[in-house]
Symmetry: C2
């Protein structure tokens, strides 16, 4: 176990993330510092980093380095993007960083930036294809991911700062400016030939601008979850945010709920770049990836491979289980038993997986593997804490709906009867994600009780019950346990679910 | 780090708790198994453990041992209480346990039981004095704790099982039975001479019966927190639960929300013992301790001292910080800075500590030391996770009200303006514990922003700002930082609270 720092010297802001690295390729973000240094400000014409911006950058790097020292972080990867890349006085700045702070900076090309964005996204979003977009202060990265590989990649040599400076959008935008800006962006996208070759695909958005767009949308809708990664937005919703943003001057924008006040001045230009791209490519859906260039650098550094992982969900489960030191053998055994019970009993569900919005197998996998994660809060009532922990653990590769269903099922692995009304989420708005009636309620409750049975059958965590064979009659469900030893206590414990089981499945439960 | 198991062979149930032991005397409960074996059942007259009960106990111990093996738990402390202690065929049972399971059992006297109960309570409840009561299946322990020492201790040689058997209370109770039972209990308490010597003191309740009484009360009241340890009840509330319980037959009792169905049959007798003691001693208040004999055994085993800890809150903070591997130096520095700010600015609070229900210094200590505990869920939005984690972490020595206030303050260490309406607790019933207006709101918000300032001043966690000196004018609060280096970035970061500070304190904030 050791710490790894990624320092990202951007044109708009400078960031450092601190990660704790564990065995395998597991890591957790443990700290983050951000300073809006605006290193790229005022360099548009001369292409020189300004003295006061460099001073502030050095001062910020010193603070970052102090945090590294305070946390015994010796492995530090420092990268710089557009502002430094394009500055004619780049060497002067890099030498100061080396001399005064002792850091070696790797200057990334635009294509490098896009490549690490892709690593961040492909390892954390369970999608085969998509258009990745990252709007920086000094450049915009566009990457076409096809079959989880980079098919095309282009870096545009302007970013949110340039747009704002060149079109003078700090305060507000008028119709004429808007027309000019749209033409400019349209032309820029036109020059990327592969953009028009793409099929209708999803936009996979990375970086602060798109995060702010998503947060504004969540606040407007009173979205019940405070989770950004994997948040989905329609093109209409993005347009609504853009209309809101451009109708306000700077002071008014600072009061938009969800918009960072430090980003308010460059936000008209930044969000116009998103809105115009969506129109240009006729994109219907945006998925936000909270993992971008910095996480991409970490994944790339740790994996030492030329390909992102194949299975995002399993990779993430393993990562989290390592981080929380969870008993993987027991969890996997519970998964095997519950999945086997589900497969044998799913004809008793009204749920039709083909009509169900979400991947029920993935949902069961995550719920079963993570059912004990709540232990990390407190052993007592840990099934309830599992709900909170799983929902907020940052597991990758699930839609919010799938994640919420998994969390409810994990929480139901004990005392199923209390589970559904207990979690004090905003109920009215929660209905937008899952419907606690019909197939969703059935998926949670019927599967939750199977998890509870599986857990009882492995009470002593030694895999004593190796498999289960179910037979279904008109009256009854019979579960035969295949075990290598006496299992009376396990079976009696599992049979405590019988009353609940009968209510849910309409059949008596027999385990032997 | 290693595991420690405590196996408790009781007269009613058998339990095993598994604890993970860390450096210092820190431990966390990581698993628990319970089986209602009723080893003491049917032995009242012959004083012999029955064959079928012994068989079930052996089978249960095998399951416990399997879990120890599966979790590499080599250190196992096995104790037995009243049923084994009083059985004439004790040796036969102990030899079987040794031969078939390989465990050495320590048979505790009633006074031993009380002593470990006292260790569990004194290390986890921040009280100087109280009457500790533990109702077991085969005995009742009464311990008078005075100045955190055992002043008197008595073990009554009957428990909930005996009462239920002897007065035939499995199903229901009639008036005649009730009168007889009350007389019997009254006489038994009368024979404990020191009970009438006590001043009016609190009952510190331990064990399953009192836990169930508390849970019934919580459900009746729609209590917003799902926390039992340190839950307070009045004598009226206990009487209400008793009236409810004794008005119902067994089948009806099984439907009482909060009452374990496995305990329903012995619950009239068990709760009568509590109710009668409270009347007998004229006790006005019960405080539940979820830590009893098993935790007492763990504390006693780990501390290797003849005295429980002096400072329950600090001991618990240290325990939790060790368990979660929190940065204690940084946390302590944040505490020092926030406490210093509070001490210098408290005249600007309307809050009068003397009239405030709770210990404001303790509240600030816990909030500051634990402010980053939410990192363990997810770095992102960790201030919000700190609310959940702190509330549910099982920290000892705070009333629920103090704990809730601490959690709100910890959650306010970033973005204070969103904090108060975000935590989706049941708001109506929450008002019973804290009032999010008046002094409580002030305590949360004004202190929360001080914690936010302290956190900014130690952004790089290196203690760069060593102290703060405040001066207050009509218009302004000036905070002078005593630092060993340049702190422009820290001060600028702290000044981002200025707008919020002015709203709360009615004065401009100046930091230099």
């Amino acid at each position: 176990m050791h710490n790894l720092a990624i320092i990202d010297i951007g044109s708009n802001s400078m960031k450092m993330v601190l990660a704790e690295v564990k065995k395998g390729h597991s890591f957790t973000i443990i700290d983050e510092l951000k300073e809006t240094v605006r290193l790229g400000e005022g360099m548009s014409i001369e292409k020189k980093l300004k003295q006061d911006r460099m001073d502030k950058a050095i001062q910020t790097l010193r603070m970052f380095k102090d945090l590294c020292d305070a946390t015994d972080t010796e492995e530090i990867i420092t990268v710089a993007t557009a502002a430094v890349r394009e500055a004619t006085n780049r060497q002067q700045f890099l030498q100061r960083v080396k001399r005064e702070i002792g850091l070696d900076v790797k200057v990334l090309s635009g294509i490098d930036e896009g490549y690490y964005d892709y690593w961040g996204v492909a390892n954390s979003i369970d999608k085969e294809d998509g258009l990745i977009m990252d709007i920086g202060g000094g450049s915009i990265e566009l990457i076409w991911m096809k079959d989880r590989k980079v098919k095309e990649s282009t870096s545009l040599s302007f970013g949110a700062l340039d747009i704002t400076q060149n079109f003078d959008l700090y305060d507000s935008i008028n119709e004429e400016q808007e027309k000019e800006l749209e033409d400019f962006l349209h032309d820029a996208y036109q020059e990327v030939p592969w953009l028009s070759e793409m099929d209708h695909t999803a936009l996979l958005g990375v970086g602060g601008t798109i995060k702010n767009i998503a947060r504004i949308d969540q606040r407007k809708k009173d979205y019940p979850l405070n989770i950004l990664h994997n948040y989905k937005m329609s093109n209409e919703a993005i347009n609504d945010v853009y209309q809101l943003v451009k109708s306000k001057d700077l002071e008014e924008r600072k009061n938009i709920s969800g918009l960072s006040t430090k980003r308010a001045d460059i936000f008209i230009g930044a969000s116009a770049a998103v809105k115009t791209l969506i129109d240009f490519c006729d994109i219907k859906k945006l998925i936000l990836s909270r993992k971008g260039i910095r996480e991409g650098l970490i994944y790339h550094h740790l994996c030492r491979s030329d390909q992102p992982v194949k299975d995002v969900v399993n990779f993430s489960i393993k990562n989290i289980m390592n981080n929380f030191n969870l008993n993987q053998d027991h969890a996997y055994h519970i998964y095997k038993l519950s999945k086997s019970l589900y497969d044998q009993l799913k004809d008793l569900y009204e749920l039709k997986p083909s009509e169900f919005n979400g991947d029920i197998d993935k949902i069961i996998l995550v719920a079963a593997m993570m059912h004990d994660i709540g232990n990390h809060v407190n052993y007592y009532d840990h099934h309830e804490h599992s709900f909170y922990m799983l929902l907020n653990s940052g597991i990758n590769g699930l839609s919010h709906r799938e994640l919420l269903l998994s969390s409810y099922i994990a929480a139901s692995h004990r005392h199923t009867k209390y589970s559904l009304h207990k979690y004090n989420l905003n109920r009215a708005s929660l209905q937008k994600i899952i419907n606690k009636n019909g197939p969703d309620k059935e998926a949670i409750r019927k599967t939750g009780i199977l998890l509870e049975i599986a857990e009882s059958l492995d009470r002593s965590m030694n895999g004593i019950v190796e498999a289960v064979q179910c037979s279904i009659t008109d009256e009854q469900v019979n579960i035969k346990t295949i075990a290598r030893e006496e299992t009376e206590l396990e079976i009696n414990d599992a049979l405590e679910t019988a009353e609940g089981f009968e209510k849910l499945y309409g059949k008596k439960l027999n385990i032997y």
